[in-house]
């Protein structure tokens, strides 16, 4: 089923036992972040957290860890909460086949109930901001979908962008944003700054859960995130025009903040505990001026904790990183069976593939590096045989244990691009990358003494189903 707003999804989480309401009074810091840090440790069925009794606030509602388990991710896609990881990725691939699904324009957006403008547009009046990690430079907003357009081609809906970026609160009406050069909004800002212009943005918070998924999907530059949301939802994404900027925003957002990234201005930002599990910053980064805030009555602040993996961000950018890489590799190499890019947004990518001939697996590995996402990620690519499940790490370790000979299976390519947050780079933004060929060599590559591989007995699948039934019936 498709959710049209954030509250509809919270209702489903509540009914499914996947939303934990913490009614006791908590401190804004460190309690809320520490609870969200702890929640994913509860495992694959970890719940979302909901706080509404926060010391010093009279009317705070804060939801975290909303995507922070495979159960919640499944429910976000309208799947049963028991759906396995690989099955969720496969369903994501099937739904992407219906892309693009045009959005639906709706009147009377839910966020139009209240407005603050000009000097009154004070973010502290709307959001119960809280701080996350000890070394963070301030209050962050890290789960908002930020909407912008290409200033050189503003009517091209494919070139508009909806993305999640780290945003630091720098003042009552001032924010900072991190446009990583590999991400689309950085291209928009670059064009605006070359022209000496500001870049209008709409920052939308508290969205239905598929919007958060598409906003963190590494799509191609001219692909429209809302049209992917329609495909994943199985129904057009409901949109409205933001009143000040005219930017297309979700109809059901809790809060819509409008303003501009001030062109050609930089200011000290950070540090911030990032998705890499390391702090980054302080750097001089672009600044946003808030001009207008629209919000639902009694807005719920959706927030995301990120830290030592896995935390919510790892669930949010798991399936949606695997799928576009899979699609792009399959386009050139139909032998590719599956792609696991769930680790740190694909800084490690595991690909299973059939081999056309000797050396083919290395070519697949090199193609990963030249995909749009690979330009900023894919520091290590592991290629495994078609019968190895890249989502089954013990099988991947078996492939590394037995199929990989460093003499011929490690390809190290110097000085490639990587996002500046990747901590292993000697110069931020430049790193060597590694392809590990852990496939069985095929002719004319005759290395190794492989003999014949042991395969599952033909009757094993039948017995697996039987054993599952018997154990479930106990």
């Amino acid at each position: 089923m498709a959710y049209d707003d954030f509250r509809g999804f919270l209702d489903t989480l509540r009914k499914e036992g996947q939303l934990l309401h913490i009614a006791d009074e908590v401190m804004p810091e460190p309690d809320i972040a520490a609870a969200a840090n702890a929640a994913p440790r509860l495992g694959g069925h970890a719940p979302a957290l909901y706080f509404d009794n926060v010391k010093g606030f009279t009317d705070a509602r804060i939801a975290l860890n909303v995507h922070g388990s495979w159960a919640n991710h499944a429910l976000a896609l309208g799947l049963p909460k028991e759906t396995g990881t690989k099955e969720q990725v496969e369903e994501f691939i099937r739904r992407w086949d219906t892309f693009p699904v045009a959005p639906e324009w709706r009147e009377n957006p839910l966020w139009a109930e209240n407005t603050l403008e000009g000097e009154d547009a004070d973010i502290f009046r709307v959001l119960p901001l809280i701080r996350l990690n000890d070394g963070d430079g301030g209050f962050y907003i890290d789960k908002a979908a930020v909407v912008s357009k290409d200033p050189a081609d503003p009517e091209h809906s494919g070139k508009q962008n909806v993305g999640i970026y780290r945003i630091e609160v720098k003042g009552r009406r001032a924010l900072a944003i991190q446009p990583v050069p590999m991400h689309d909004i950085a291209q928009h800002l670059h064009t605006a700054e070359e022209r000496g212009e500001d870049l209008p943005v709409a920052i939308t918070l508290g969205n239905e859960p598929v919007i958060s998924i598409v906003a963190s999907t590494p799509m191609e530059y001219e692909q429209n995130e809302y049209e992917l949301a329609g495909a994943l939802r199985g129904a057009p994404a409901p949109l409205s025009r933001a009143p000040l900027t005219g930017l297309p925003v979700p109809w059901g957002s809790e809060v819509v903040i409008e303003g501009v990234i001030e062109g050609r201005k930089r200011e000290i930002e950070g540090p911030f505990g990032e998705f890499t599990g390391h702090y980054s910053g302080g750097r001089n980064m672009p600044v946003i001026r808030i001009d207008r805030i629209s919000y639902r009555t009694g807005p719920i602040f959706e927030h995301l904790y990120l830290g030592m993996p896995w935390t919510e961000v790892d669930y949010l950018i798991a399936a949606n990183t695997c799928v576009p890489l899979y699609q792009q590799l399959r386009h050139d190499f139909p032998e590719v069976q599956a792609v696991n890019a769930m680790y740190t947004h694909g800084l490690v990518v595991i690909v299973s593939t059939k081999k056309r001939y000797g050396g083919f697996a290395k070519a697949v590995g090199m193609r990963v590096l030249t995909t749009p996402h690979g330009l900023g990620y894919a520091a290590t690519v592991i290629v495994v045989d078609e019968d190895v499940d890249p989502f089954d790490l013990p099988q991947v370790m078996w492939a590394l244990s037995t199929k990989m000979n460093p003499a011929g299976d490690l390809v190290q390519i110097p000085n490639l691009s990587v996002l500046e947050l990747a901590p292993q780079a000697v110069t931020p933004g430049i790193t060597d990358k590694l392809i590990i060929d852990a496939t069985t060599p095929v002719a004319p590559d005759r290395r190794g003494t492989y003999g014949t591989q042991v395969r599952d007995l033909p009757e094993t699948a039948e017995w697996l189903a039987r054993l599952r039934k018997l154990t479930a019936a106990r």
């Binding site: 804004p28 009279t58 609160v169 700054e193 070359e194 540090p271 750097r283 672009p286």
Partner: protein, 87 residues
Amino acid sequence: MSDTTPLCPRCAHEAIEHITGSPVPGVWEVLQCGRCLYMWRTSEPARRIRRDAYPEEFMLTPEDIGTAPEVPAVPPLRRPGAGAATR
């Protein structure tokens, strides 16, 4: 409350601005350093709000701020009339 936090915990600067206060009066304040822009709530643990308890690895110096890289770099202004064909 600001008299109990006379220094920025992070860079030891003395000019601290009051940004906002708790909706329930007097429970906490949000403060910001005028130099390194560190922002914190006065009810946070000491390790986040007191200079003498602030972890060394998170401290910033004026030199750190002065040498912070620009991300992303500001591009050169394009001359008016220079066409998009150059891109």
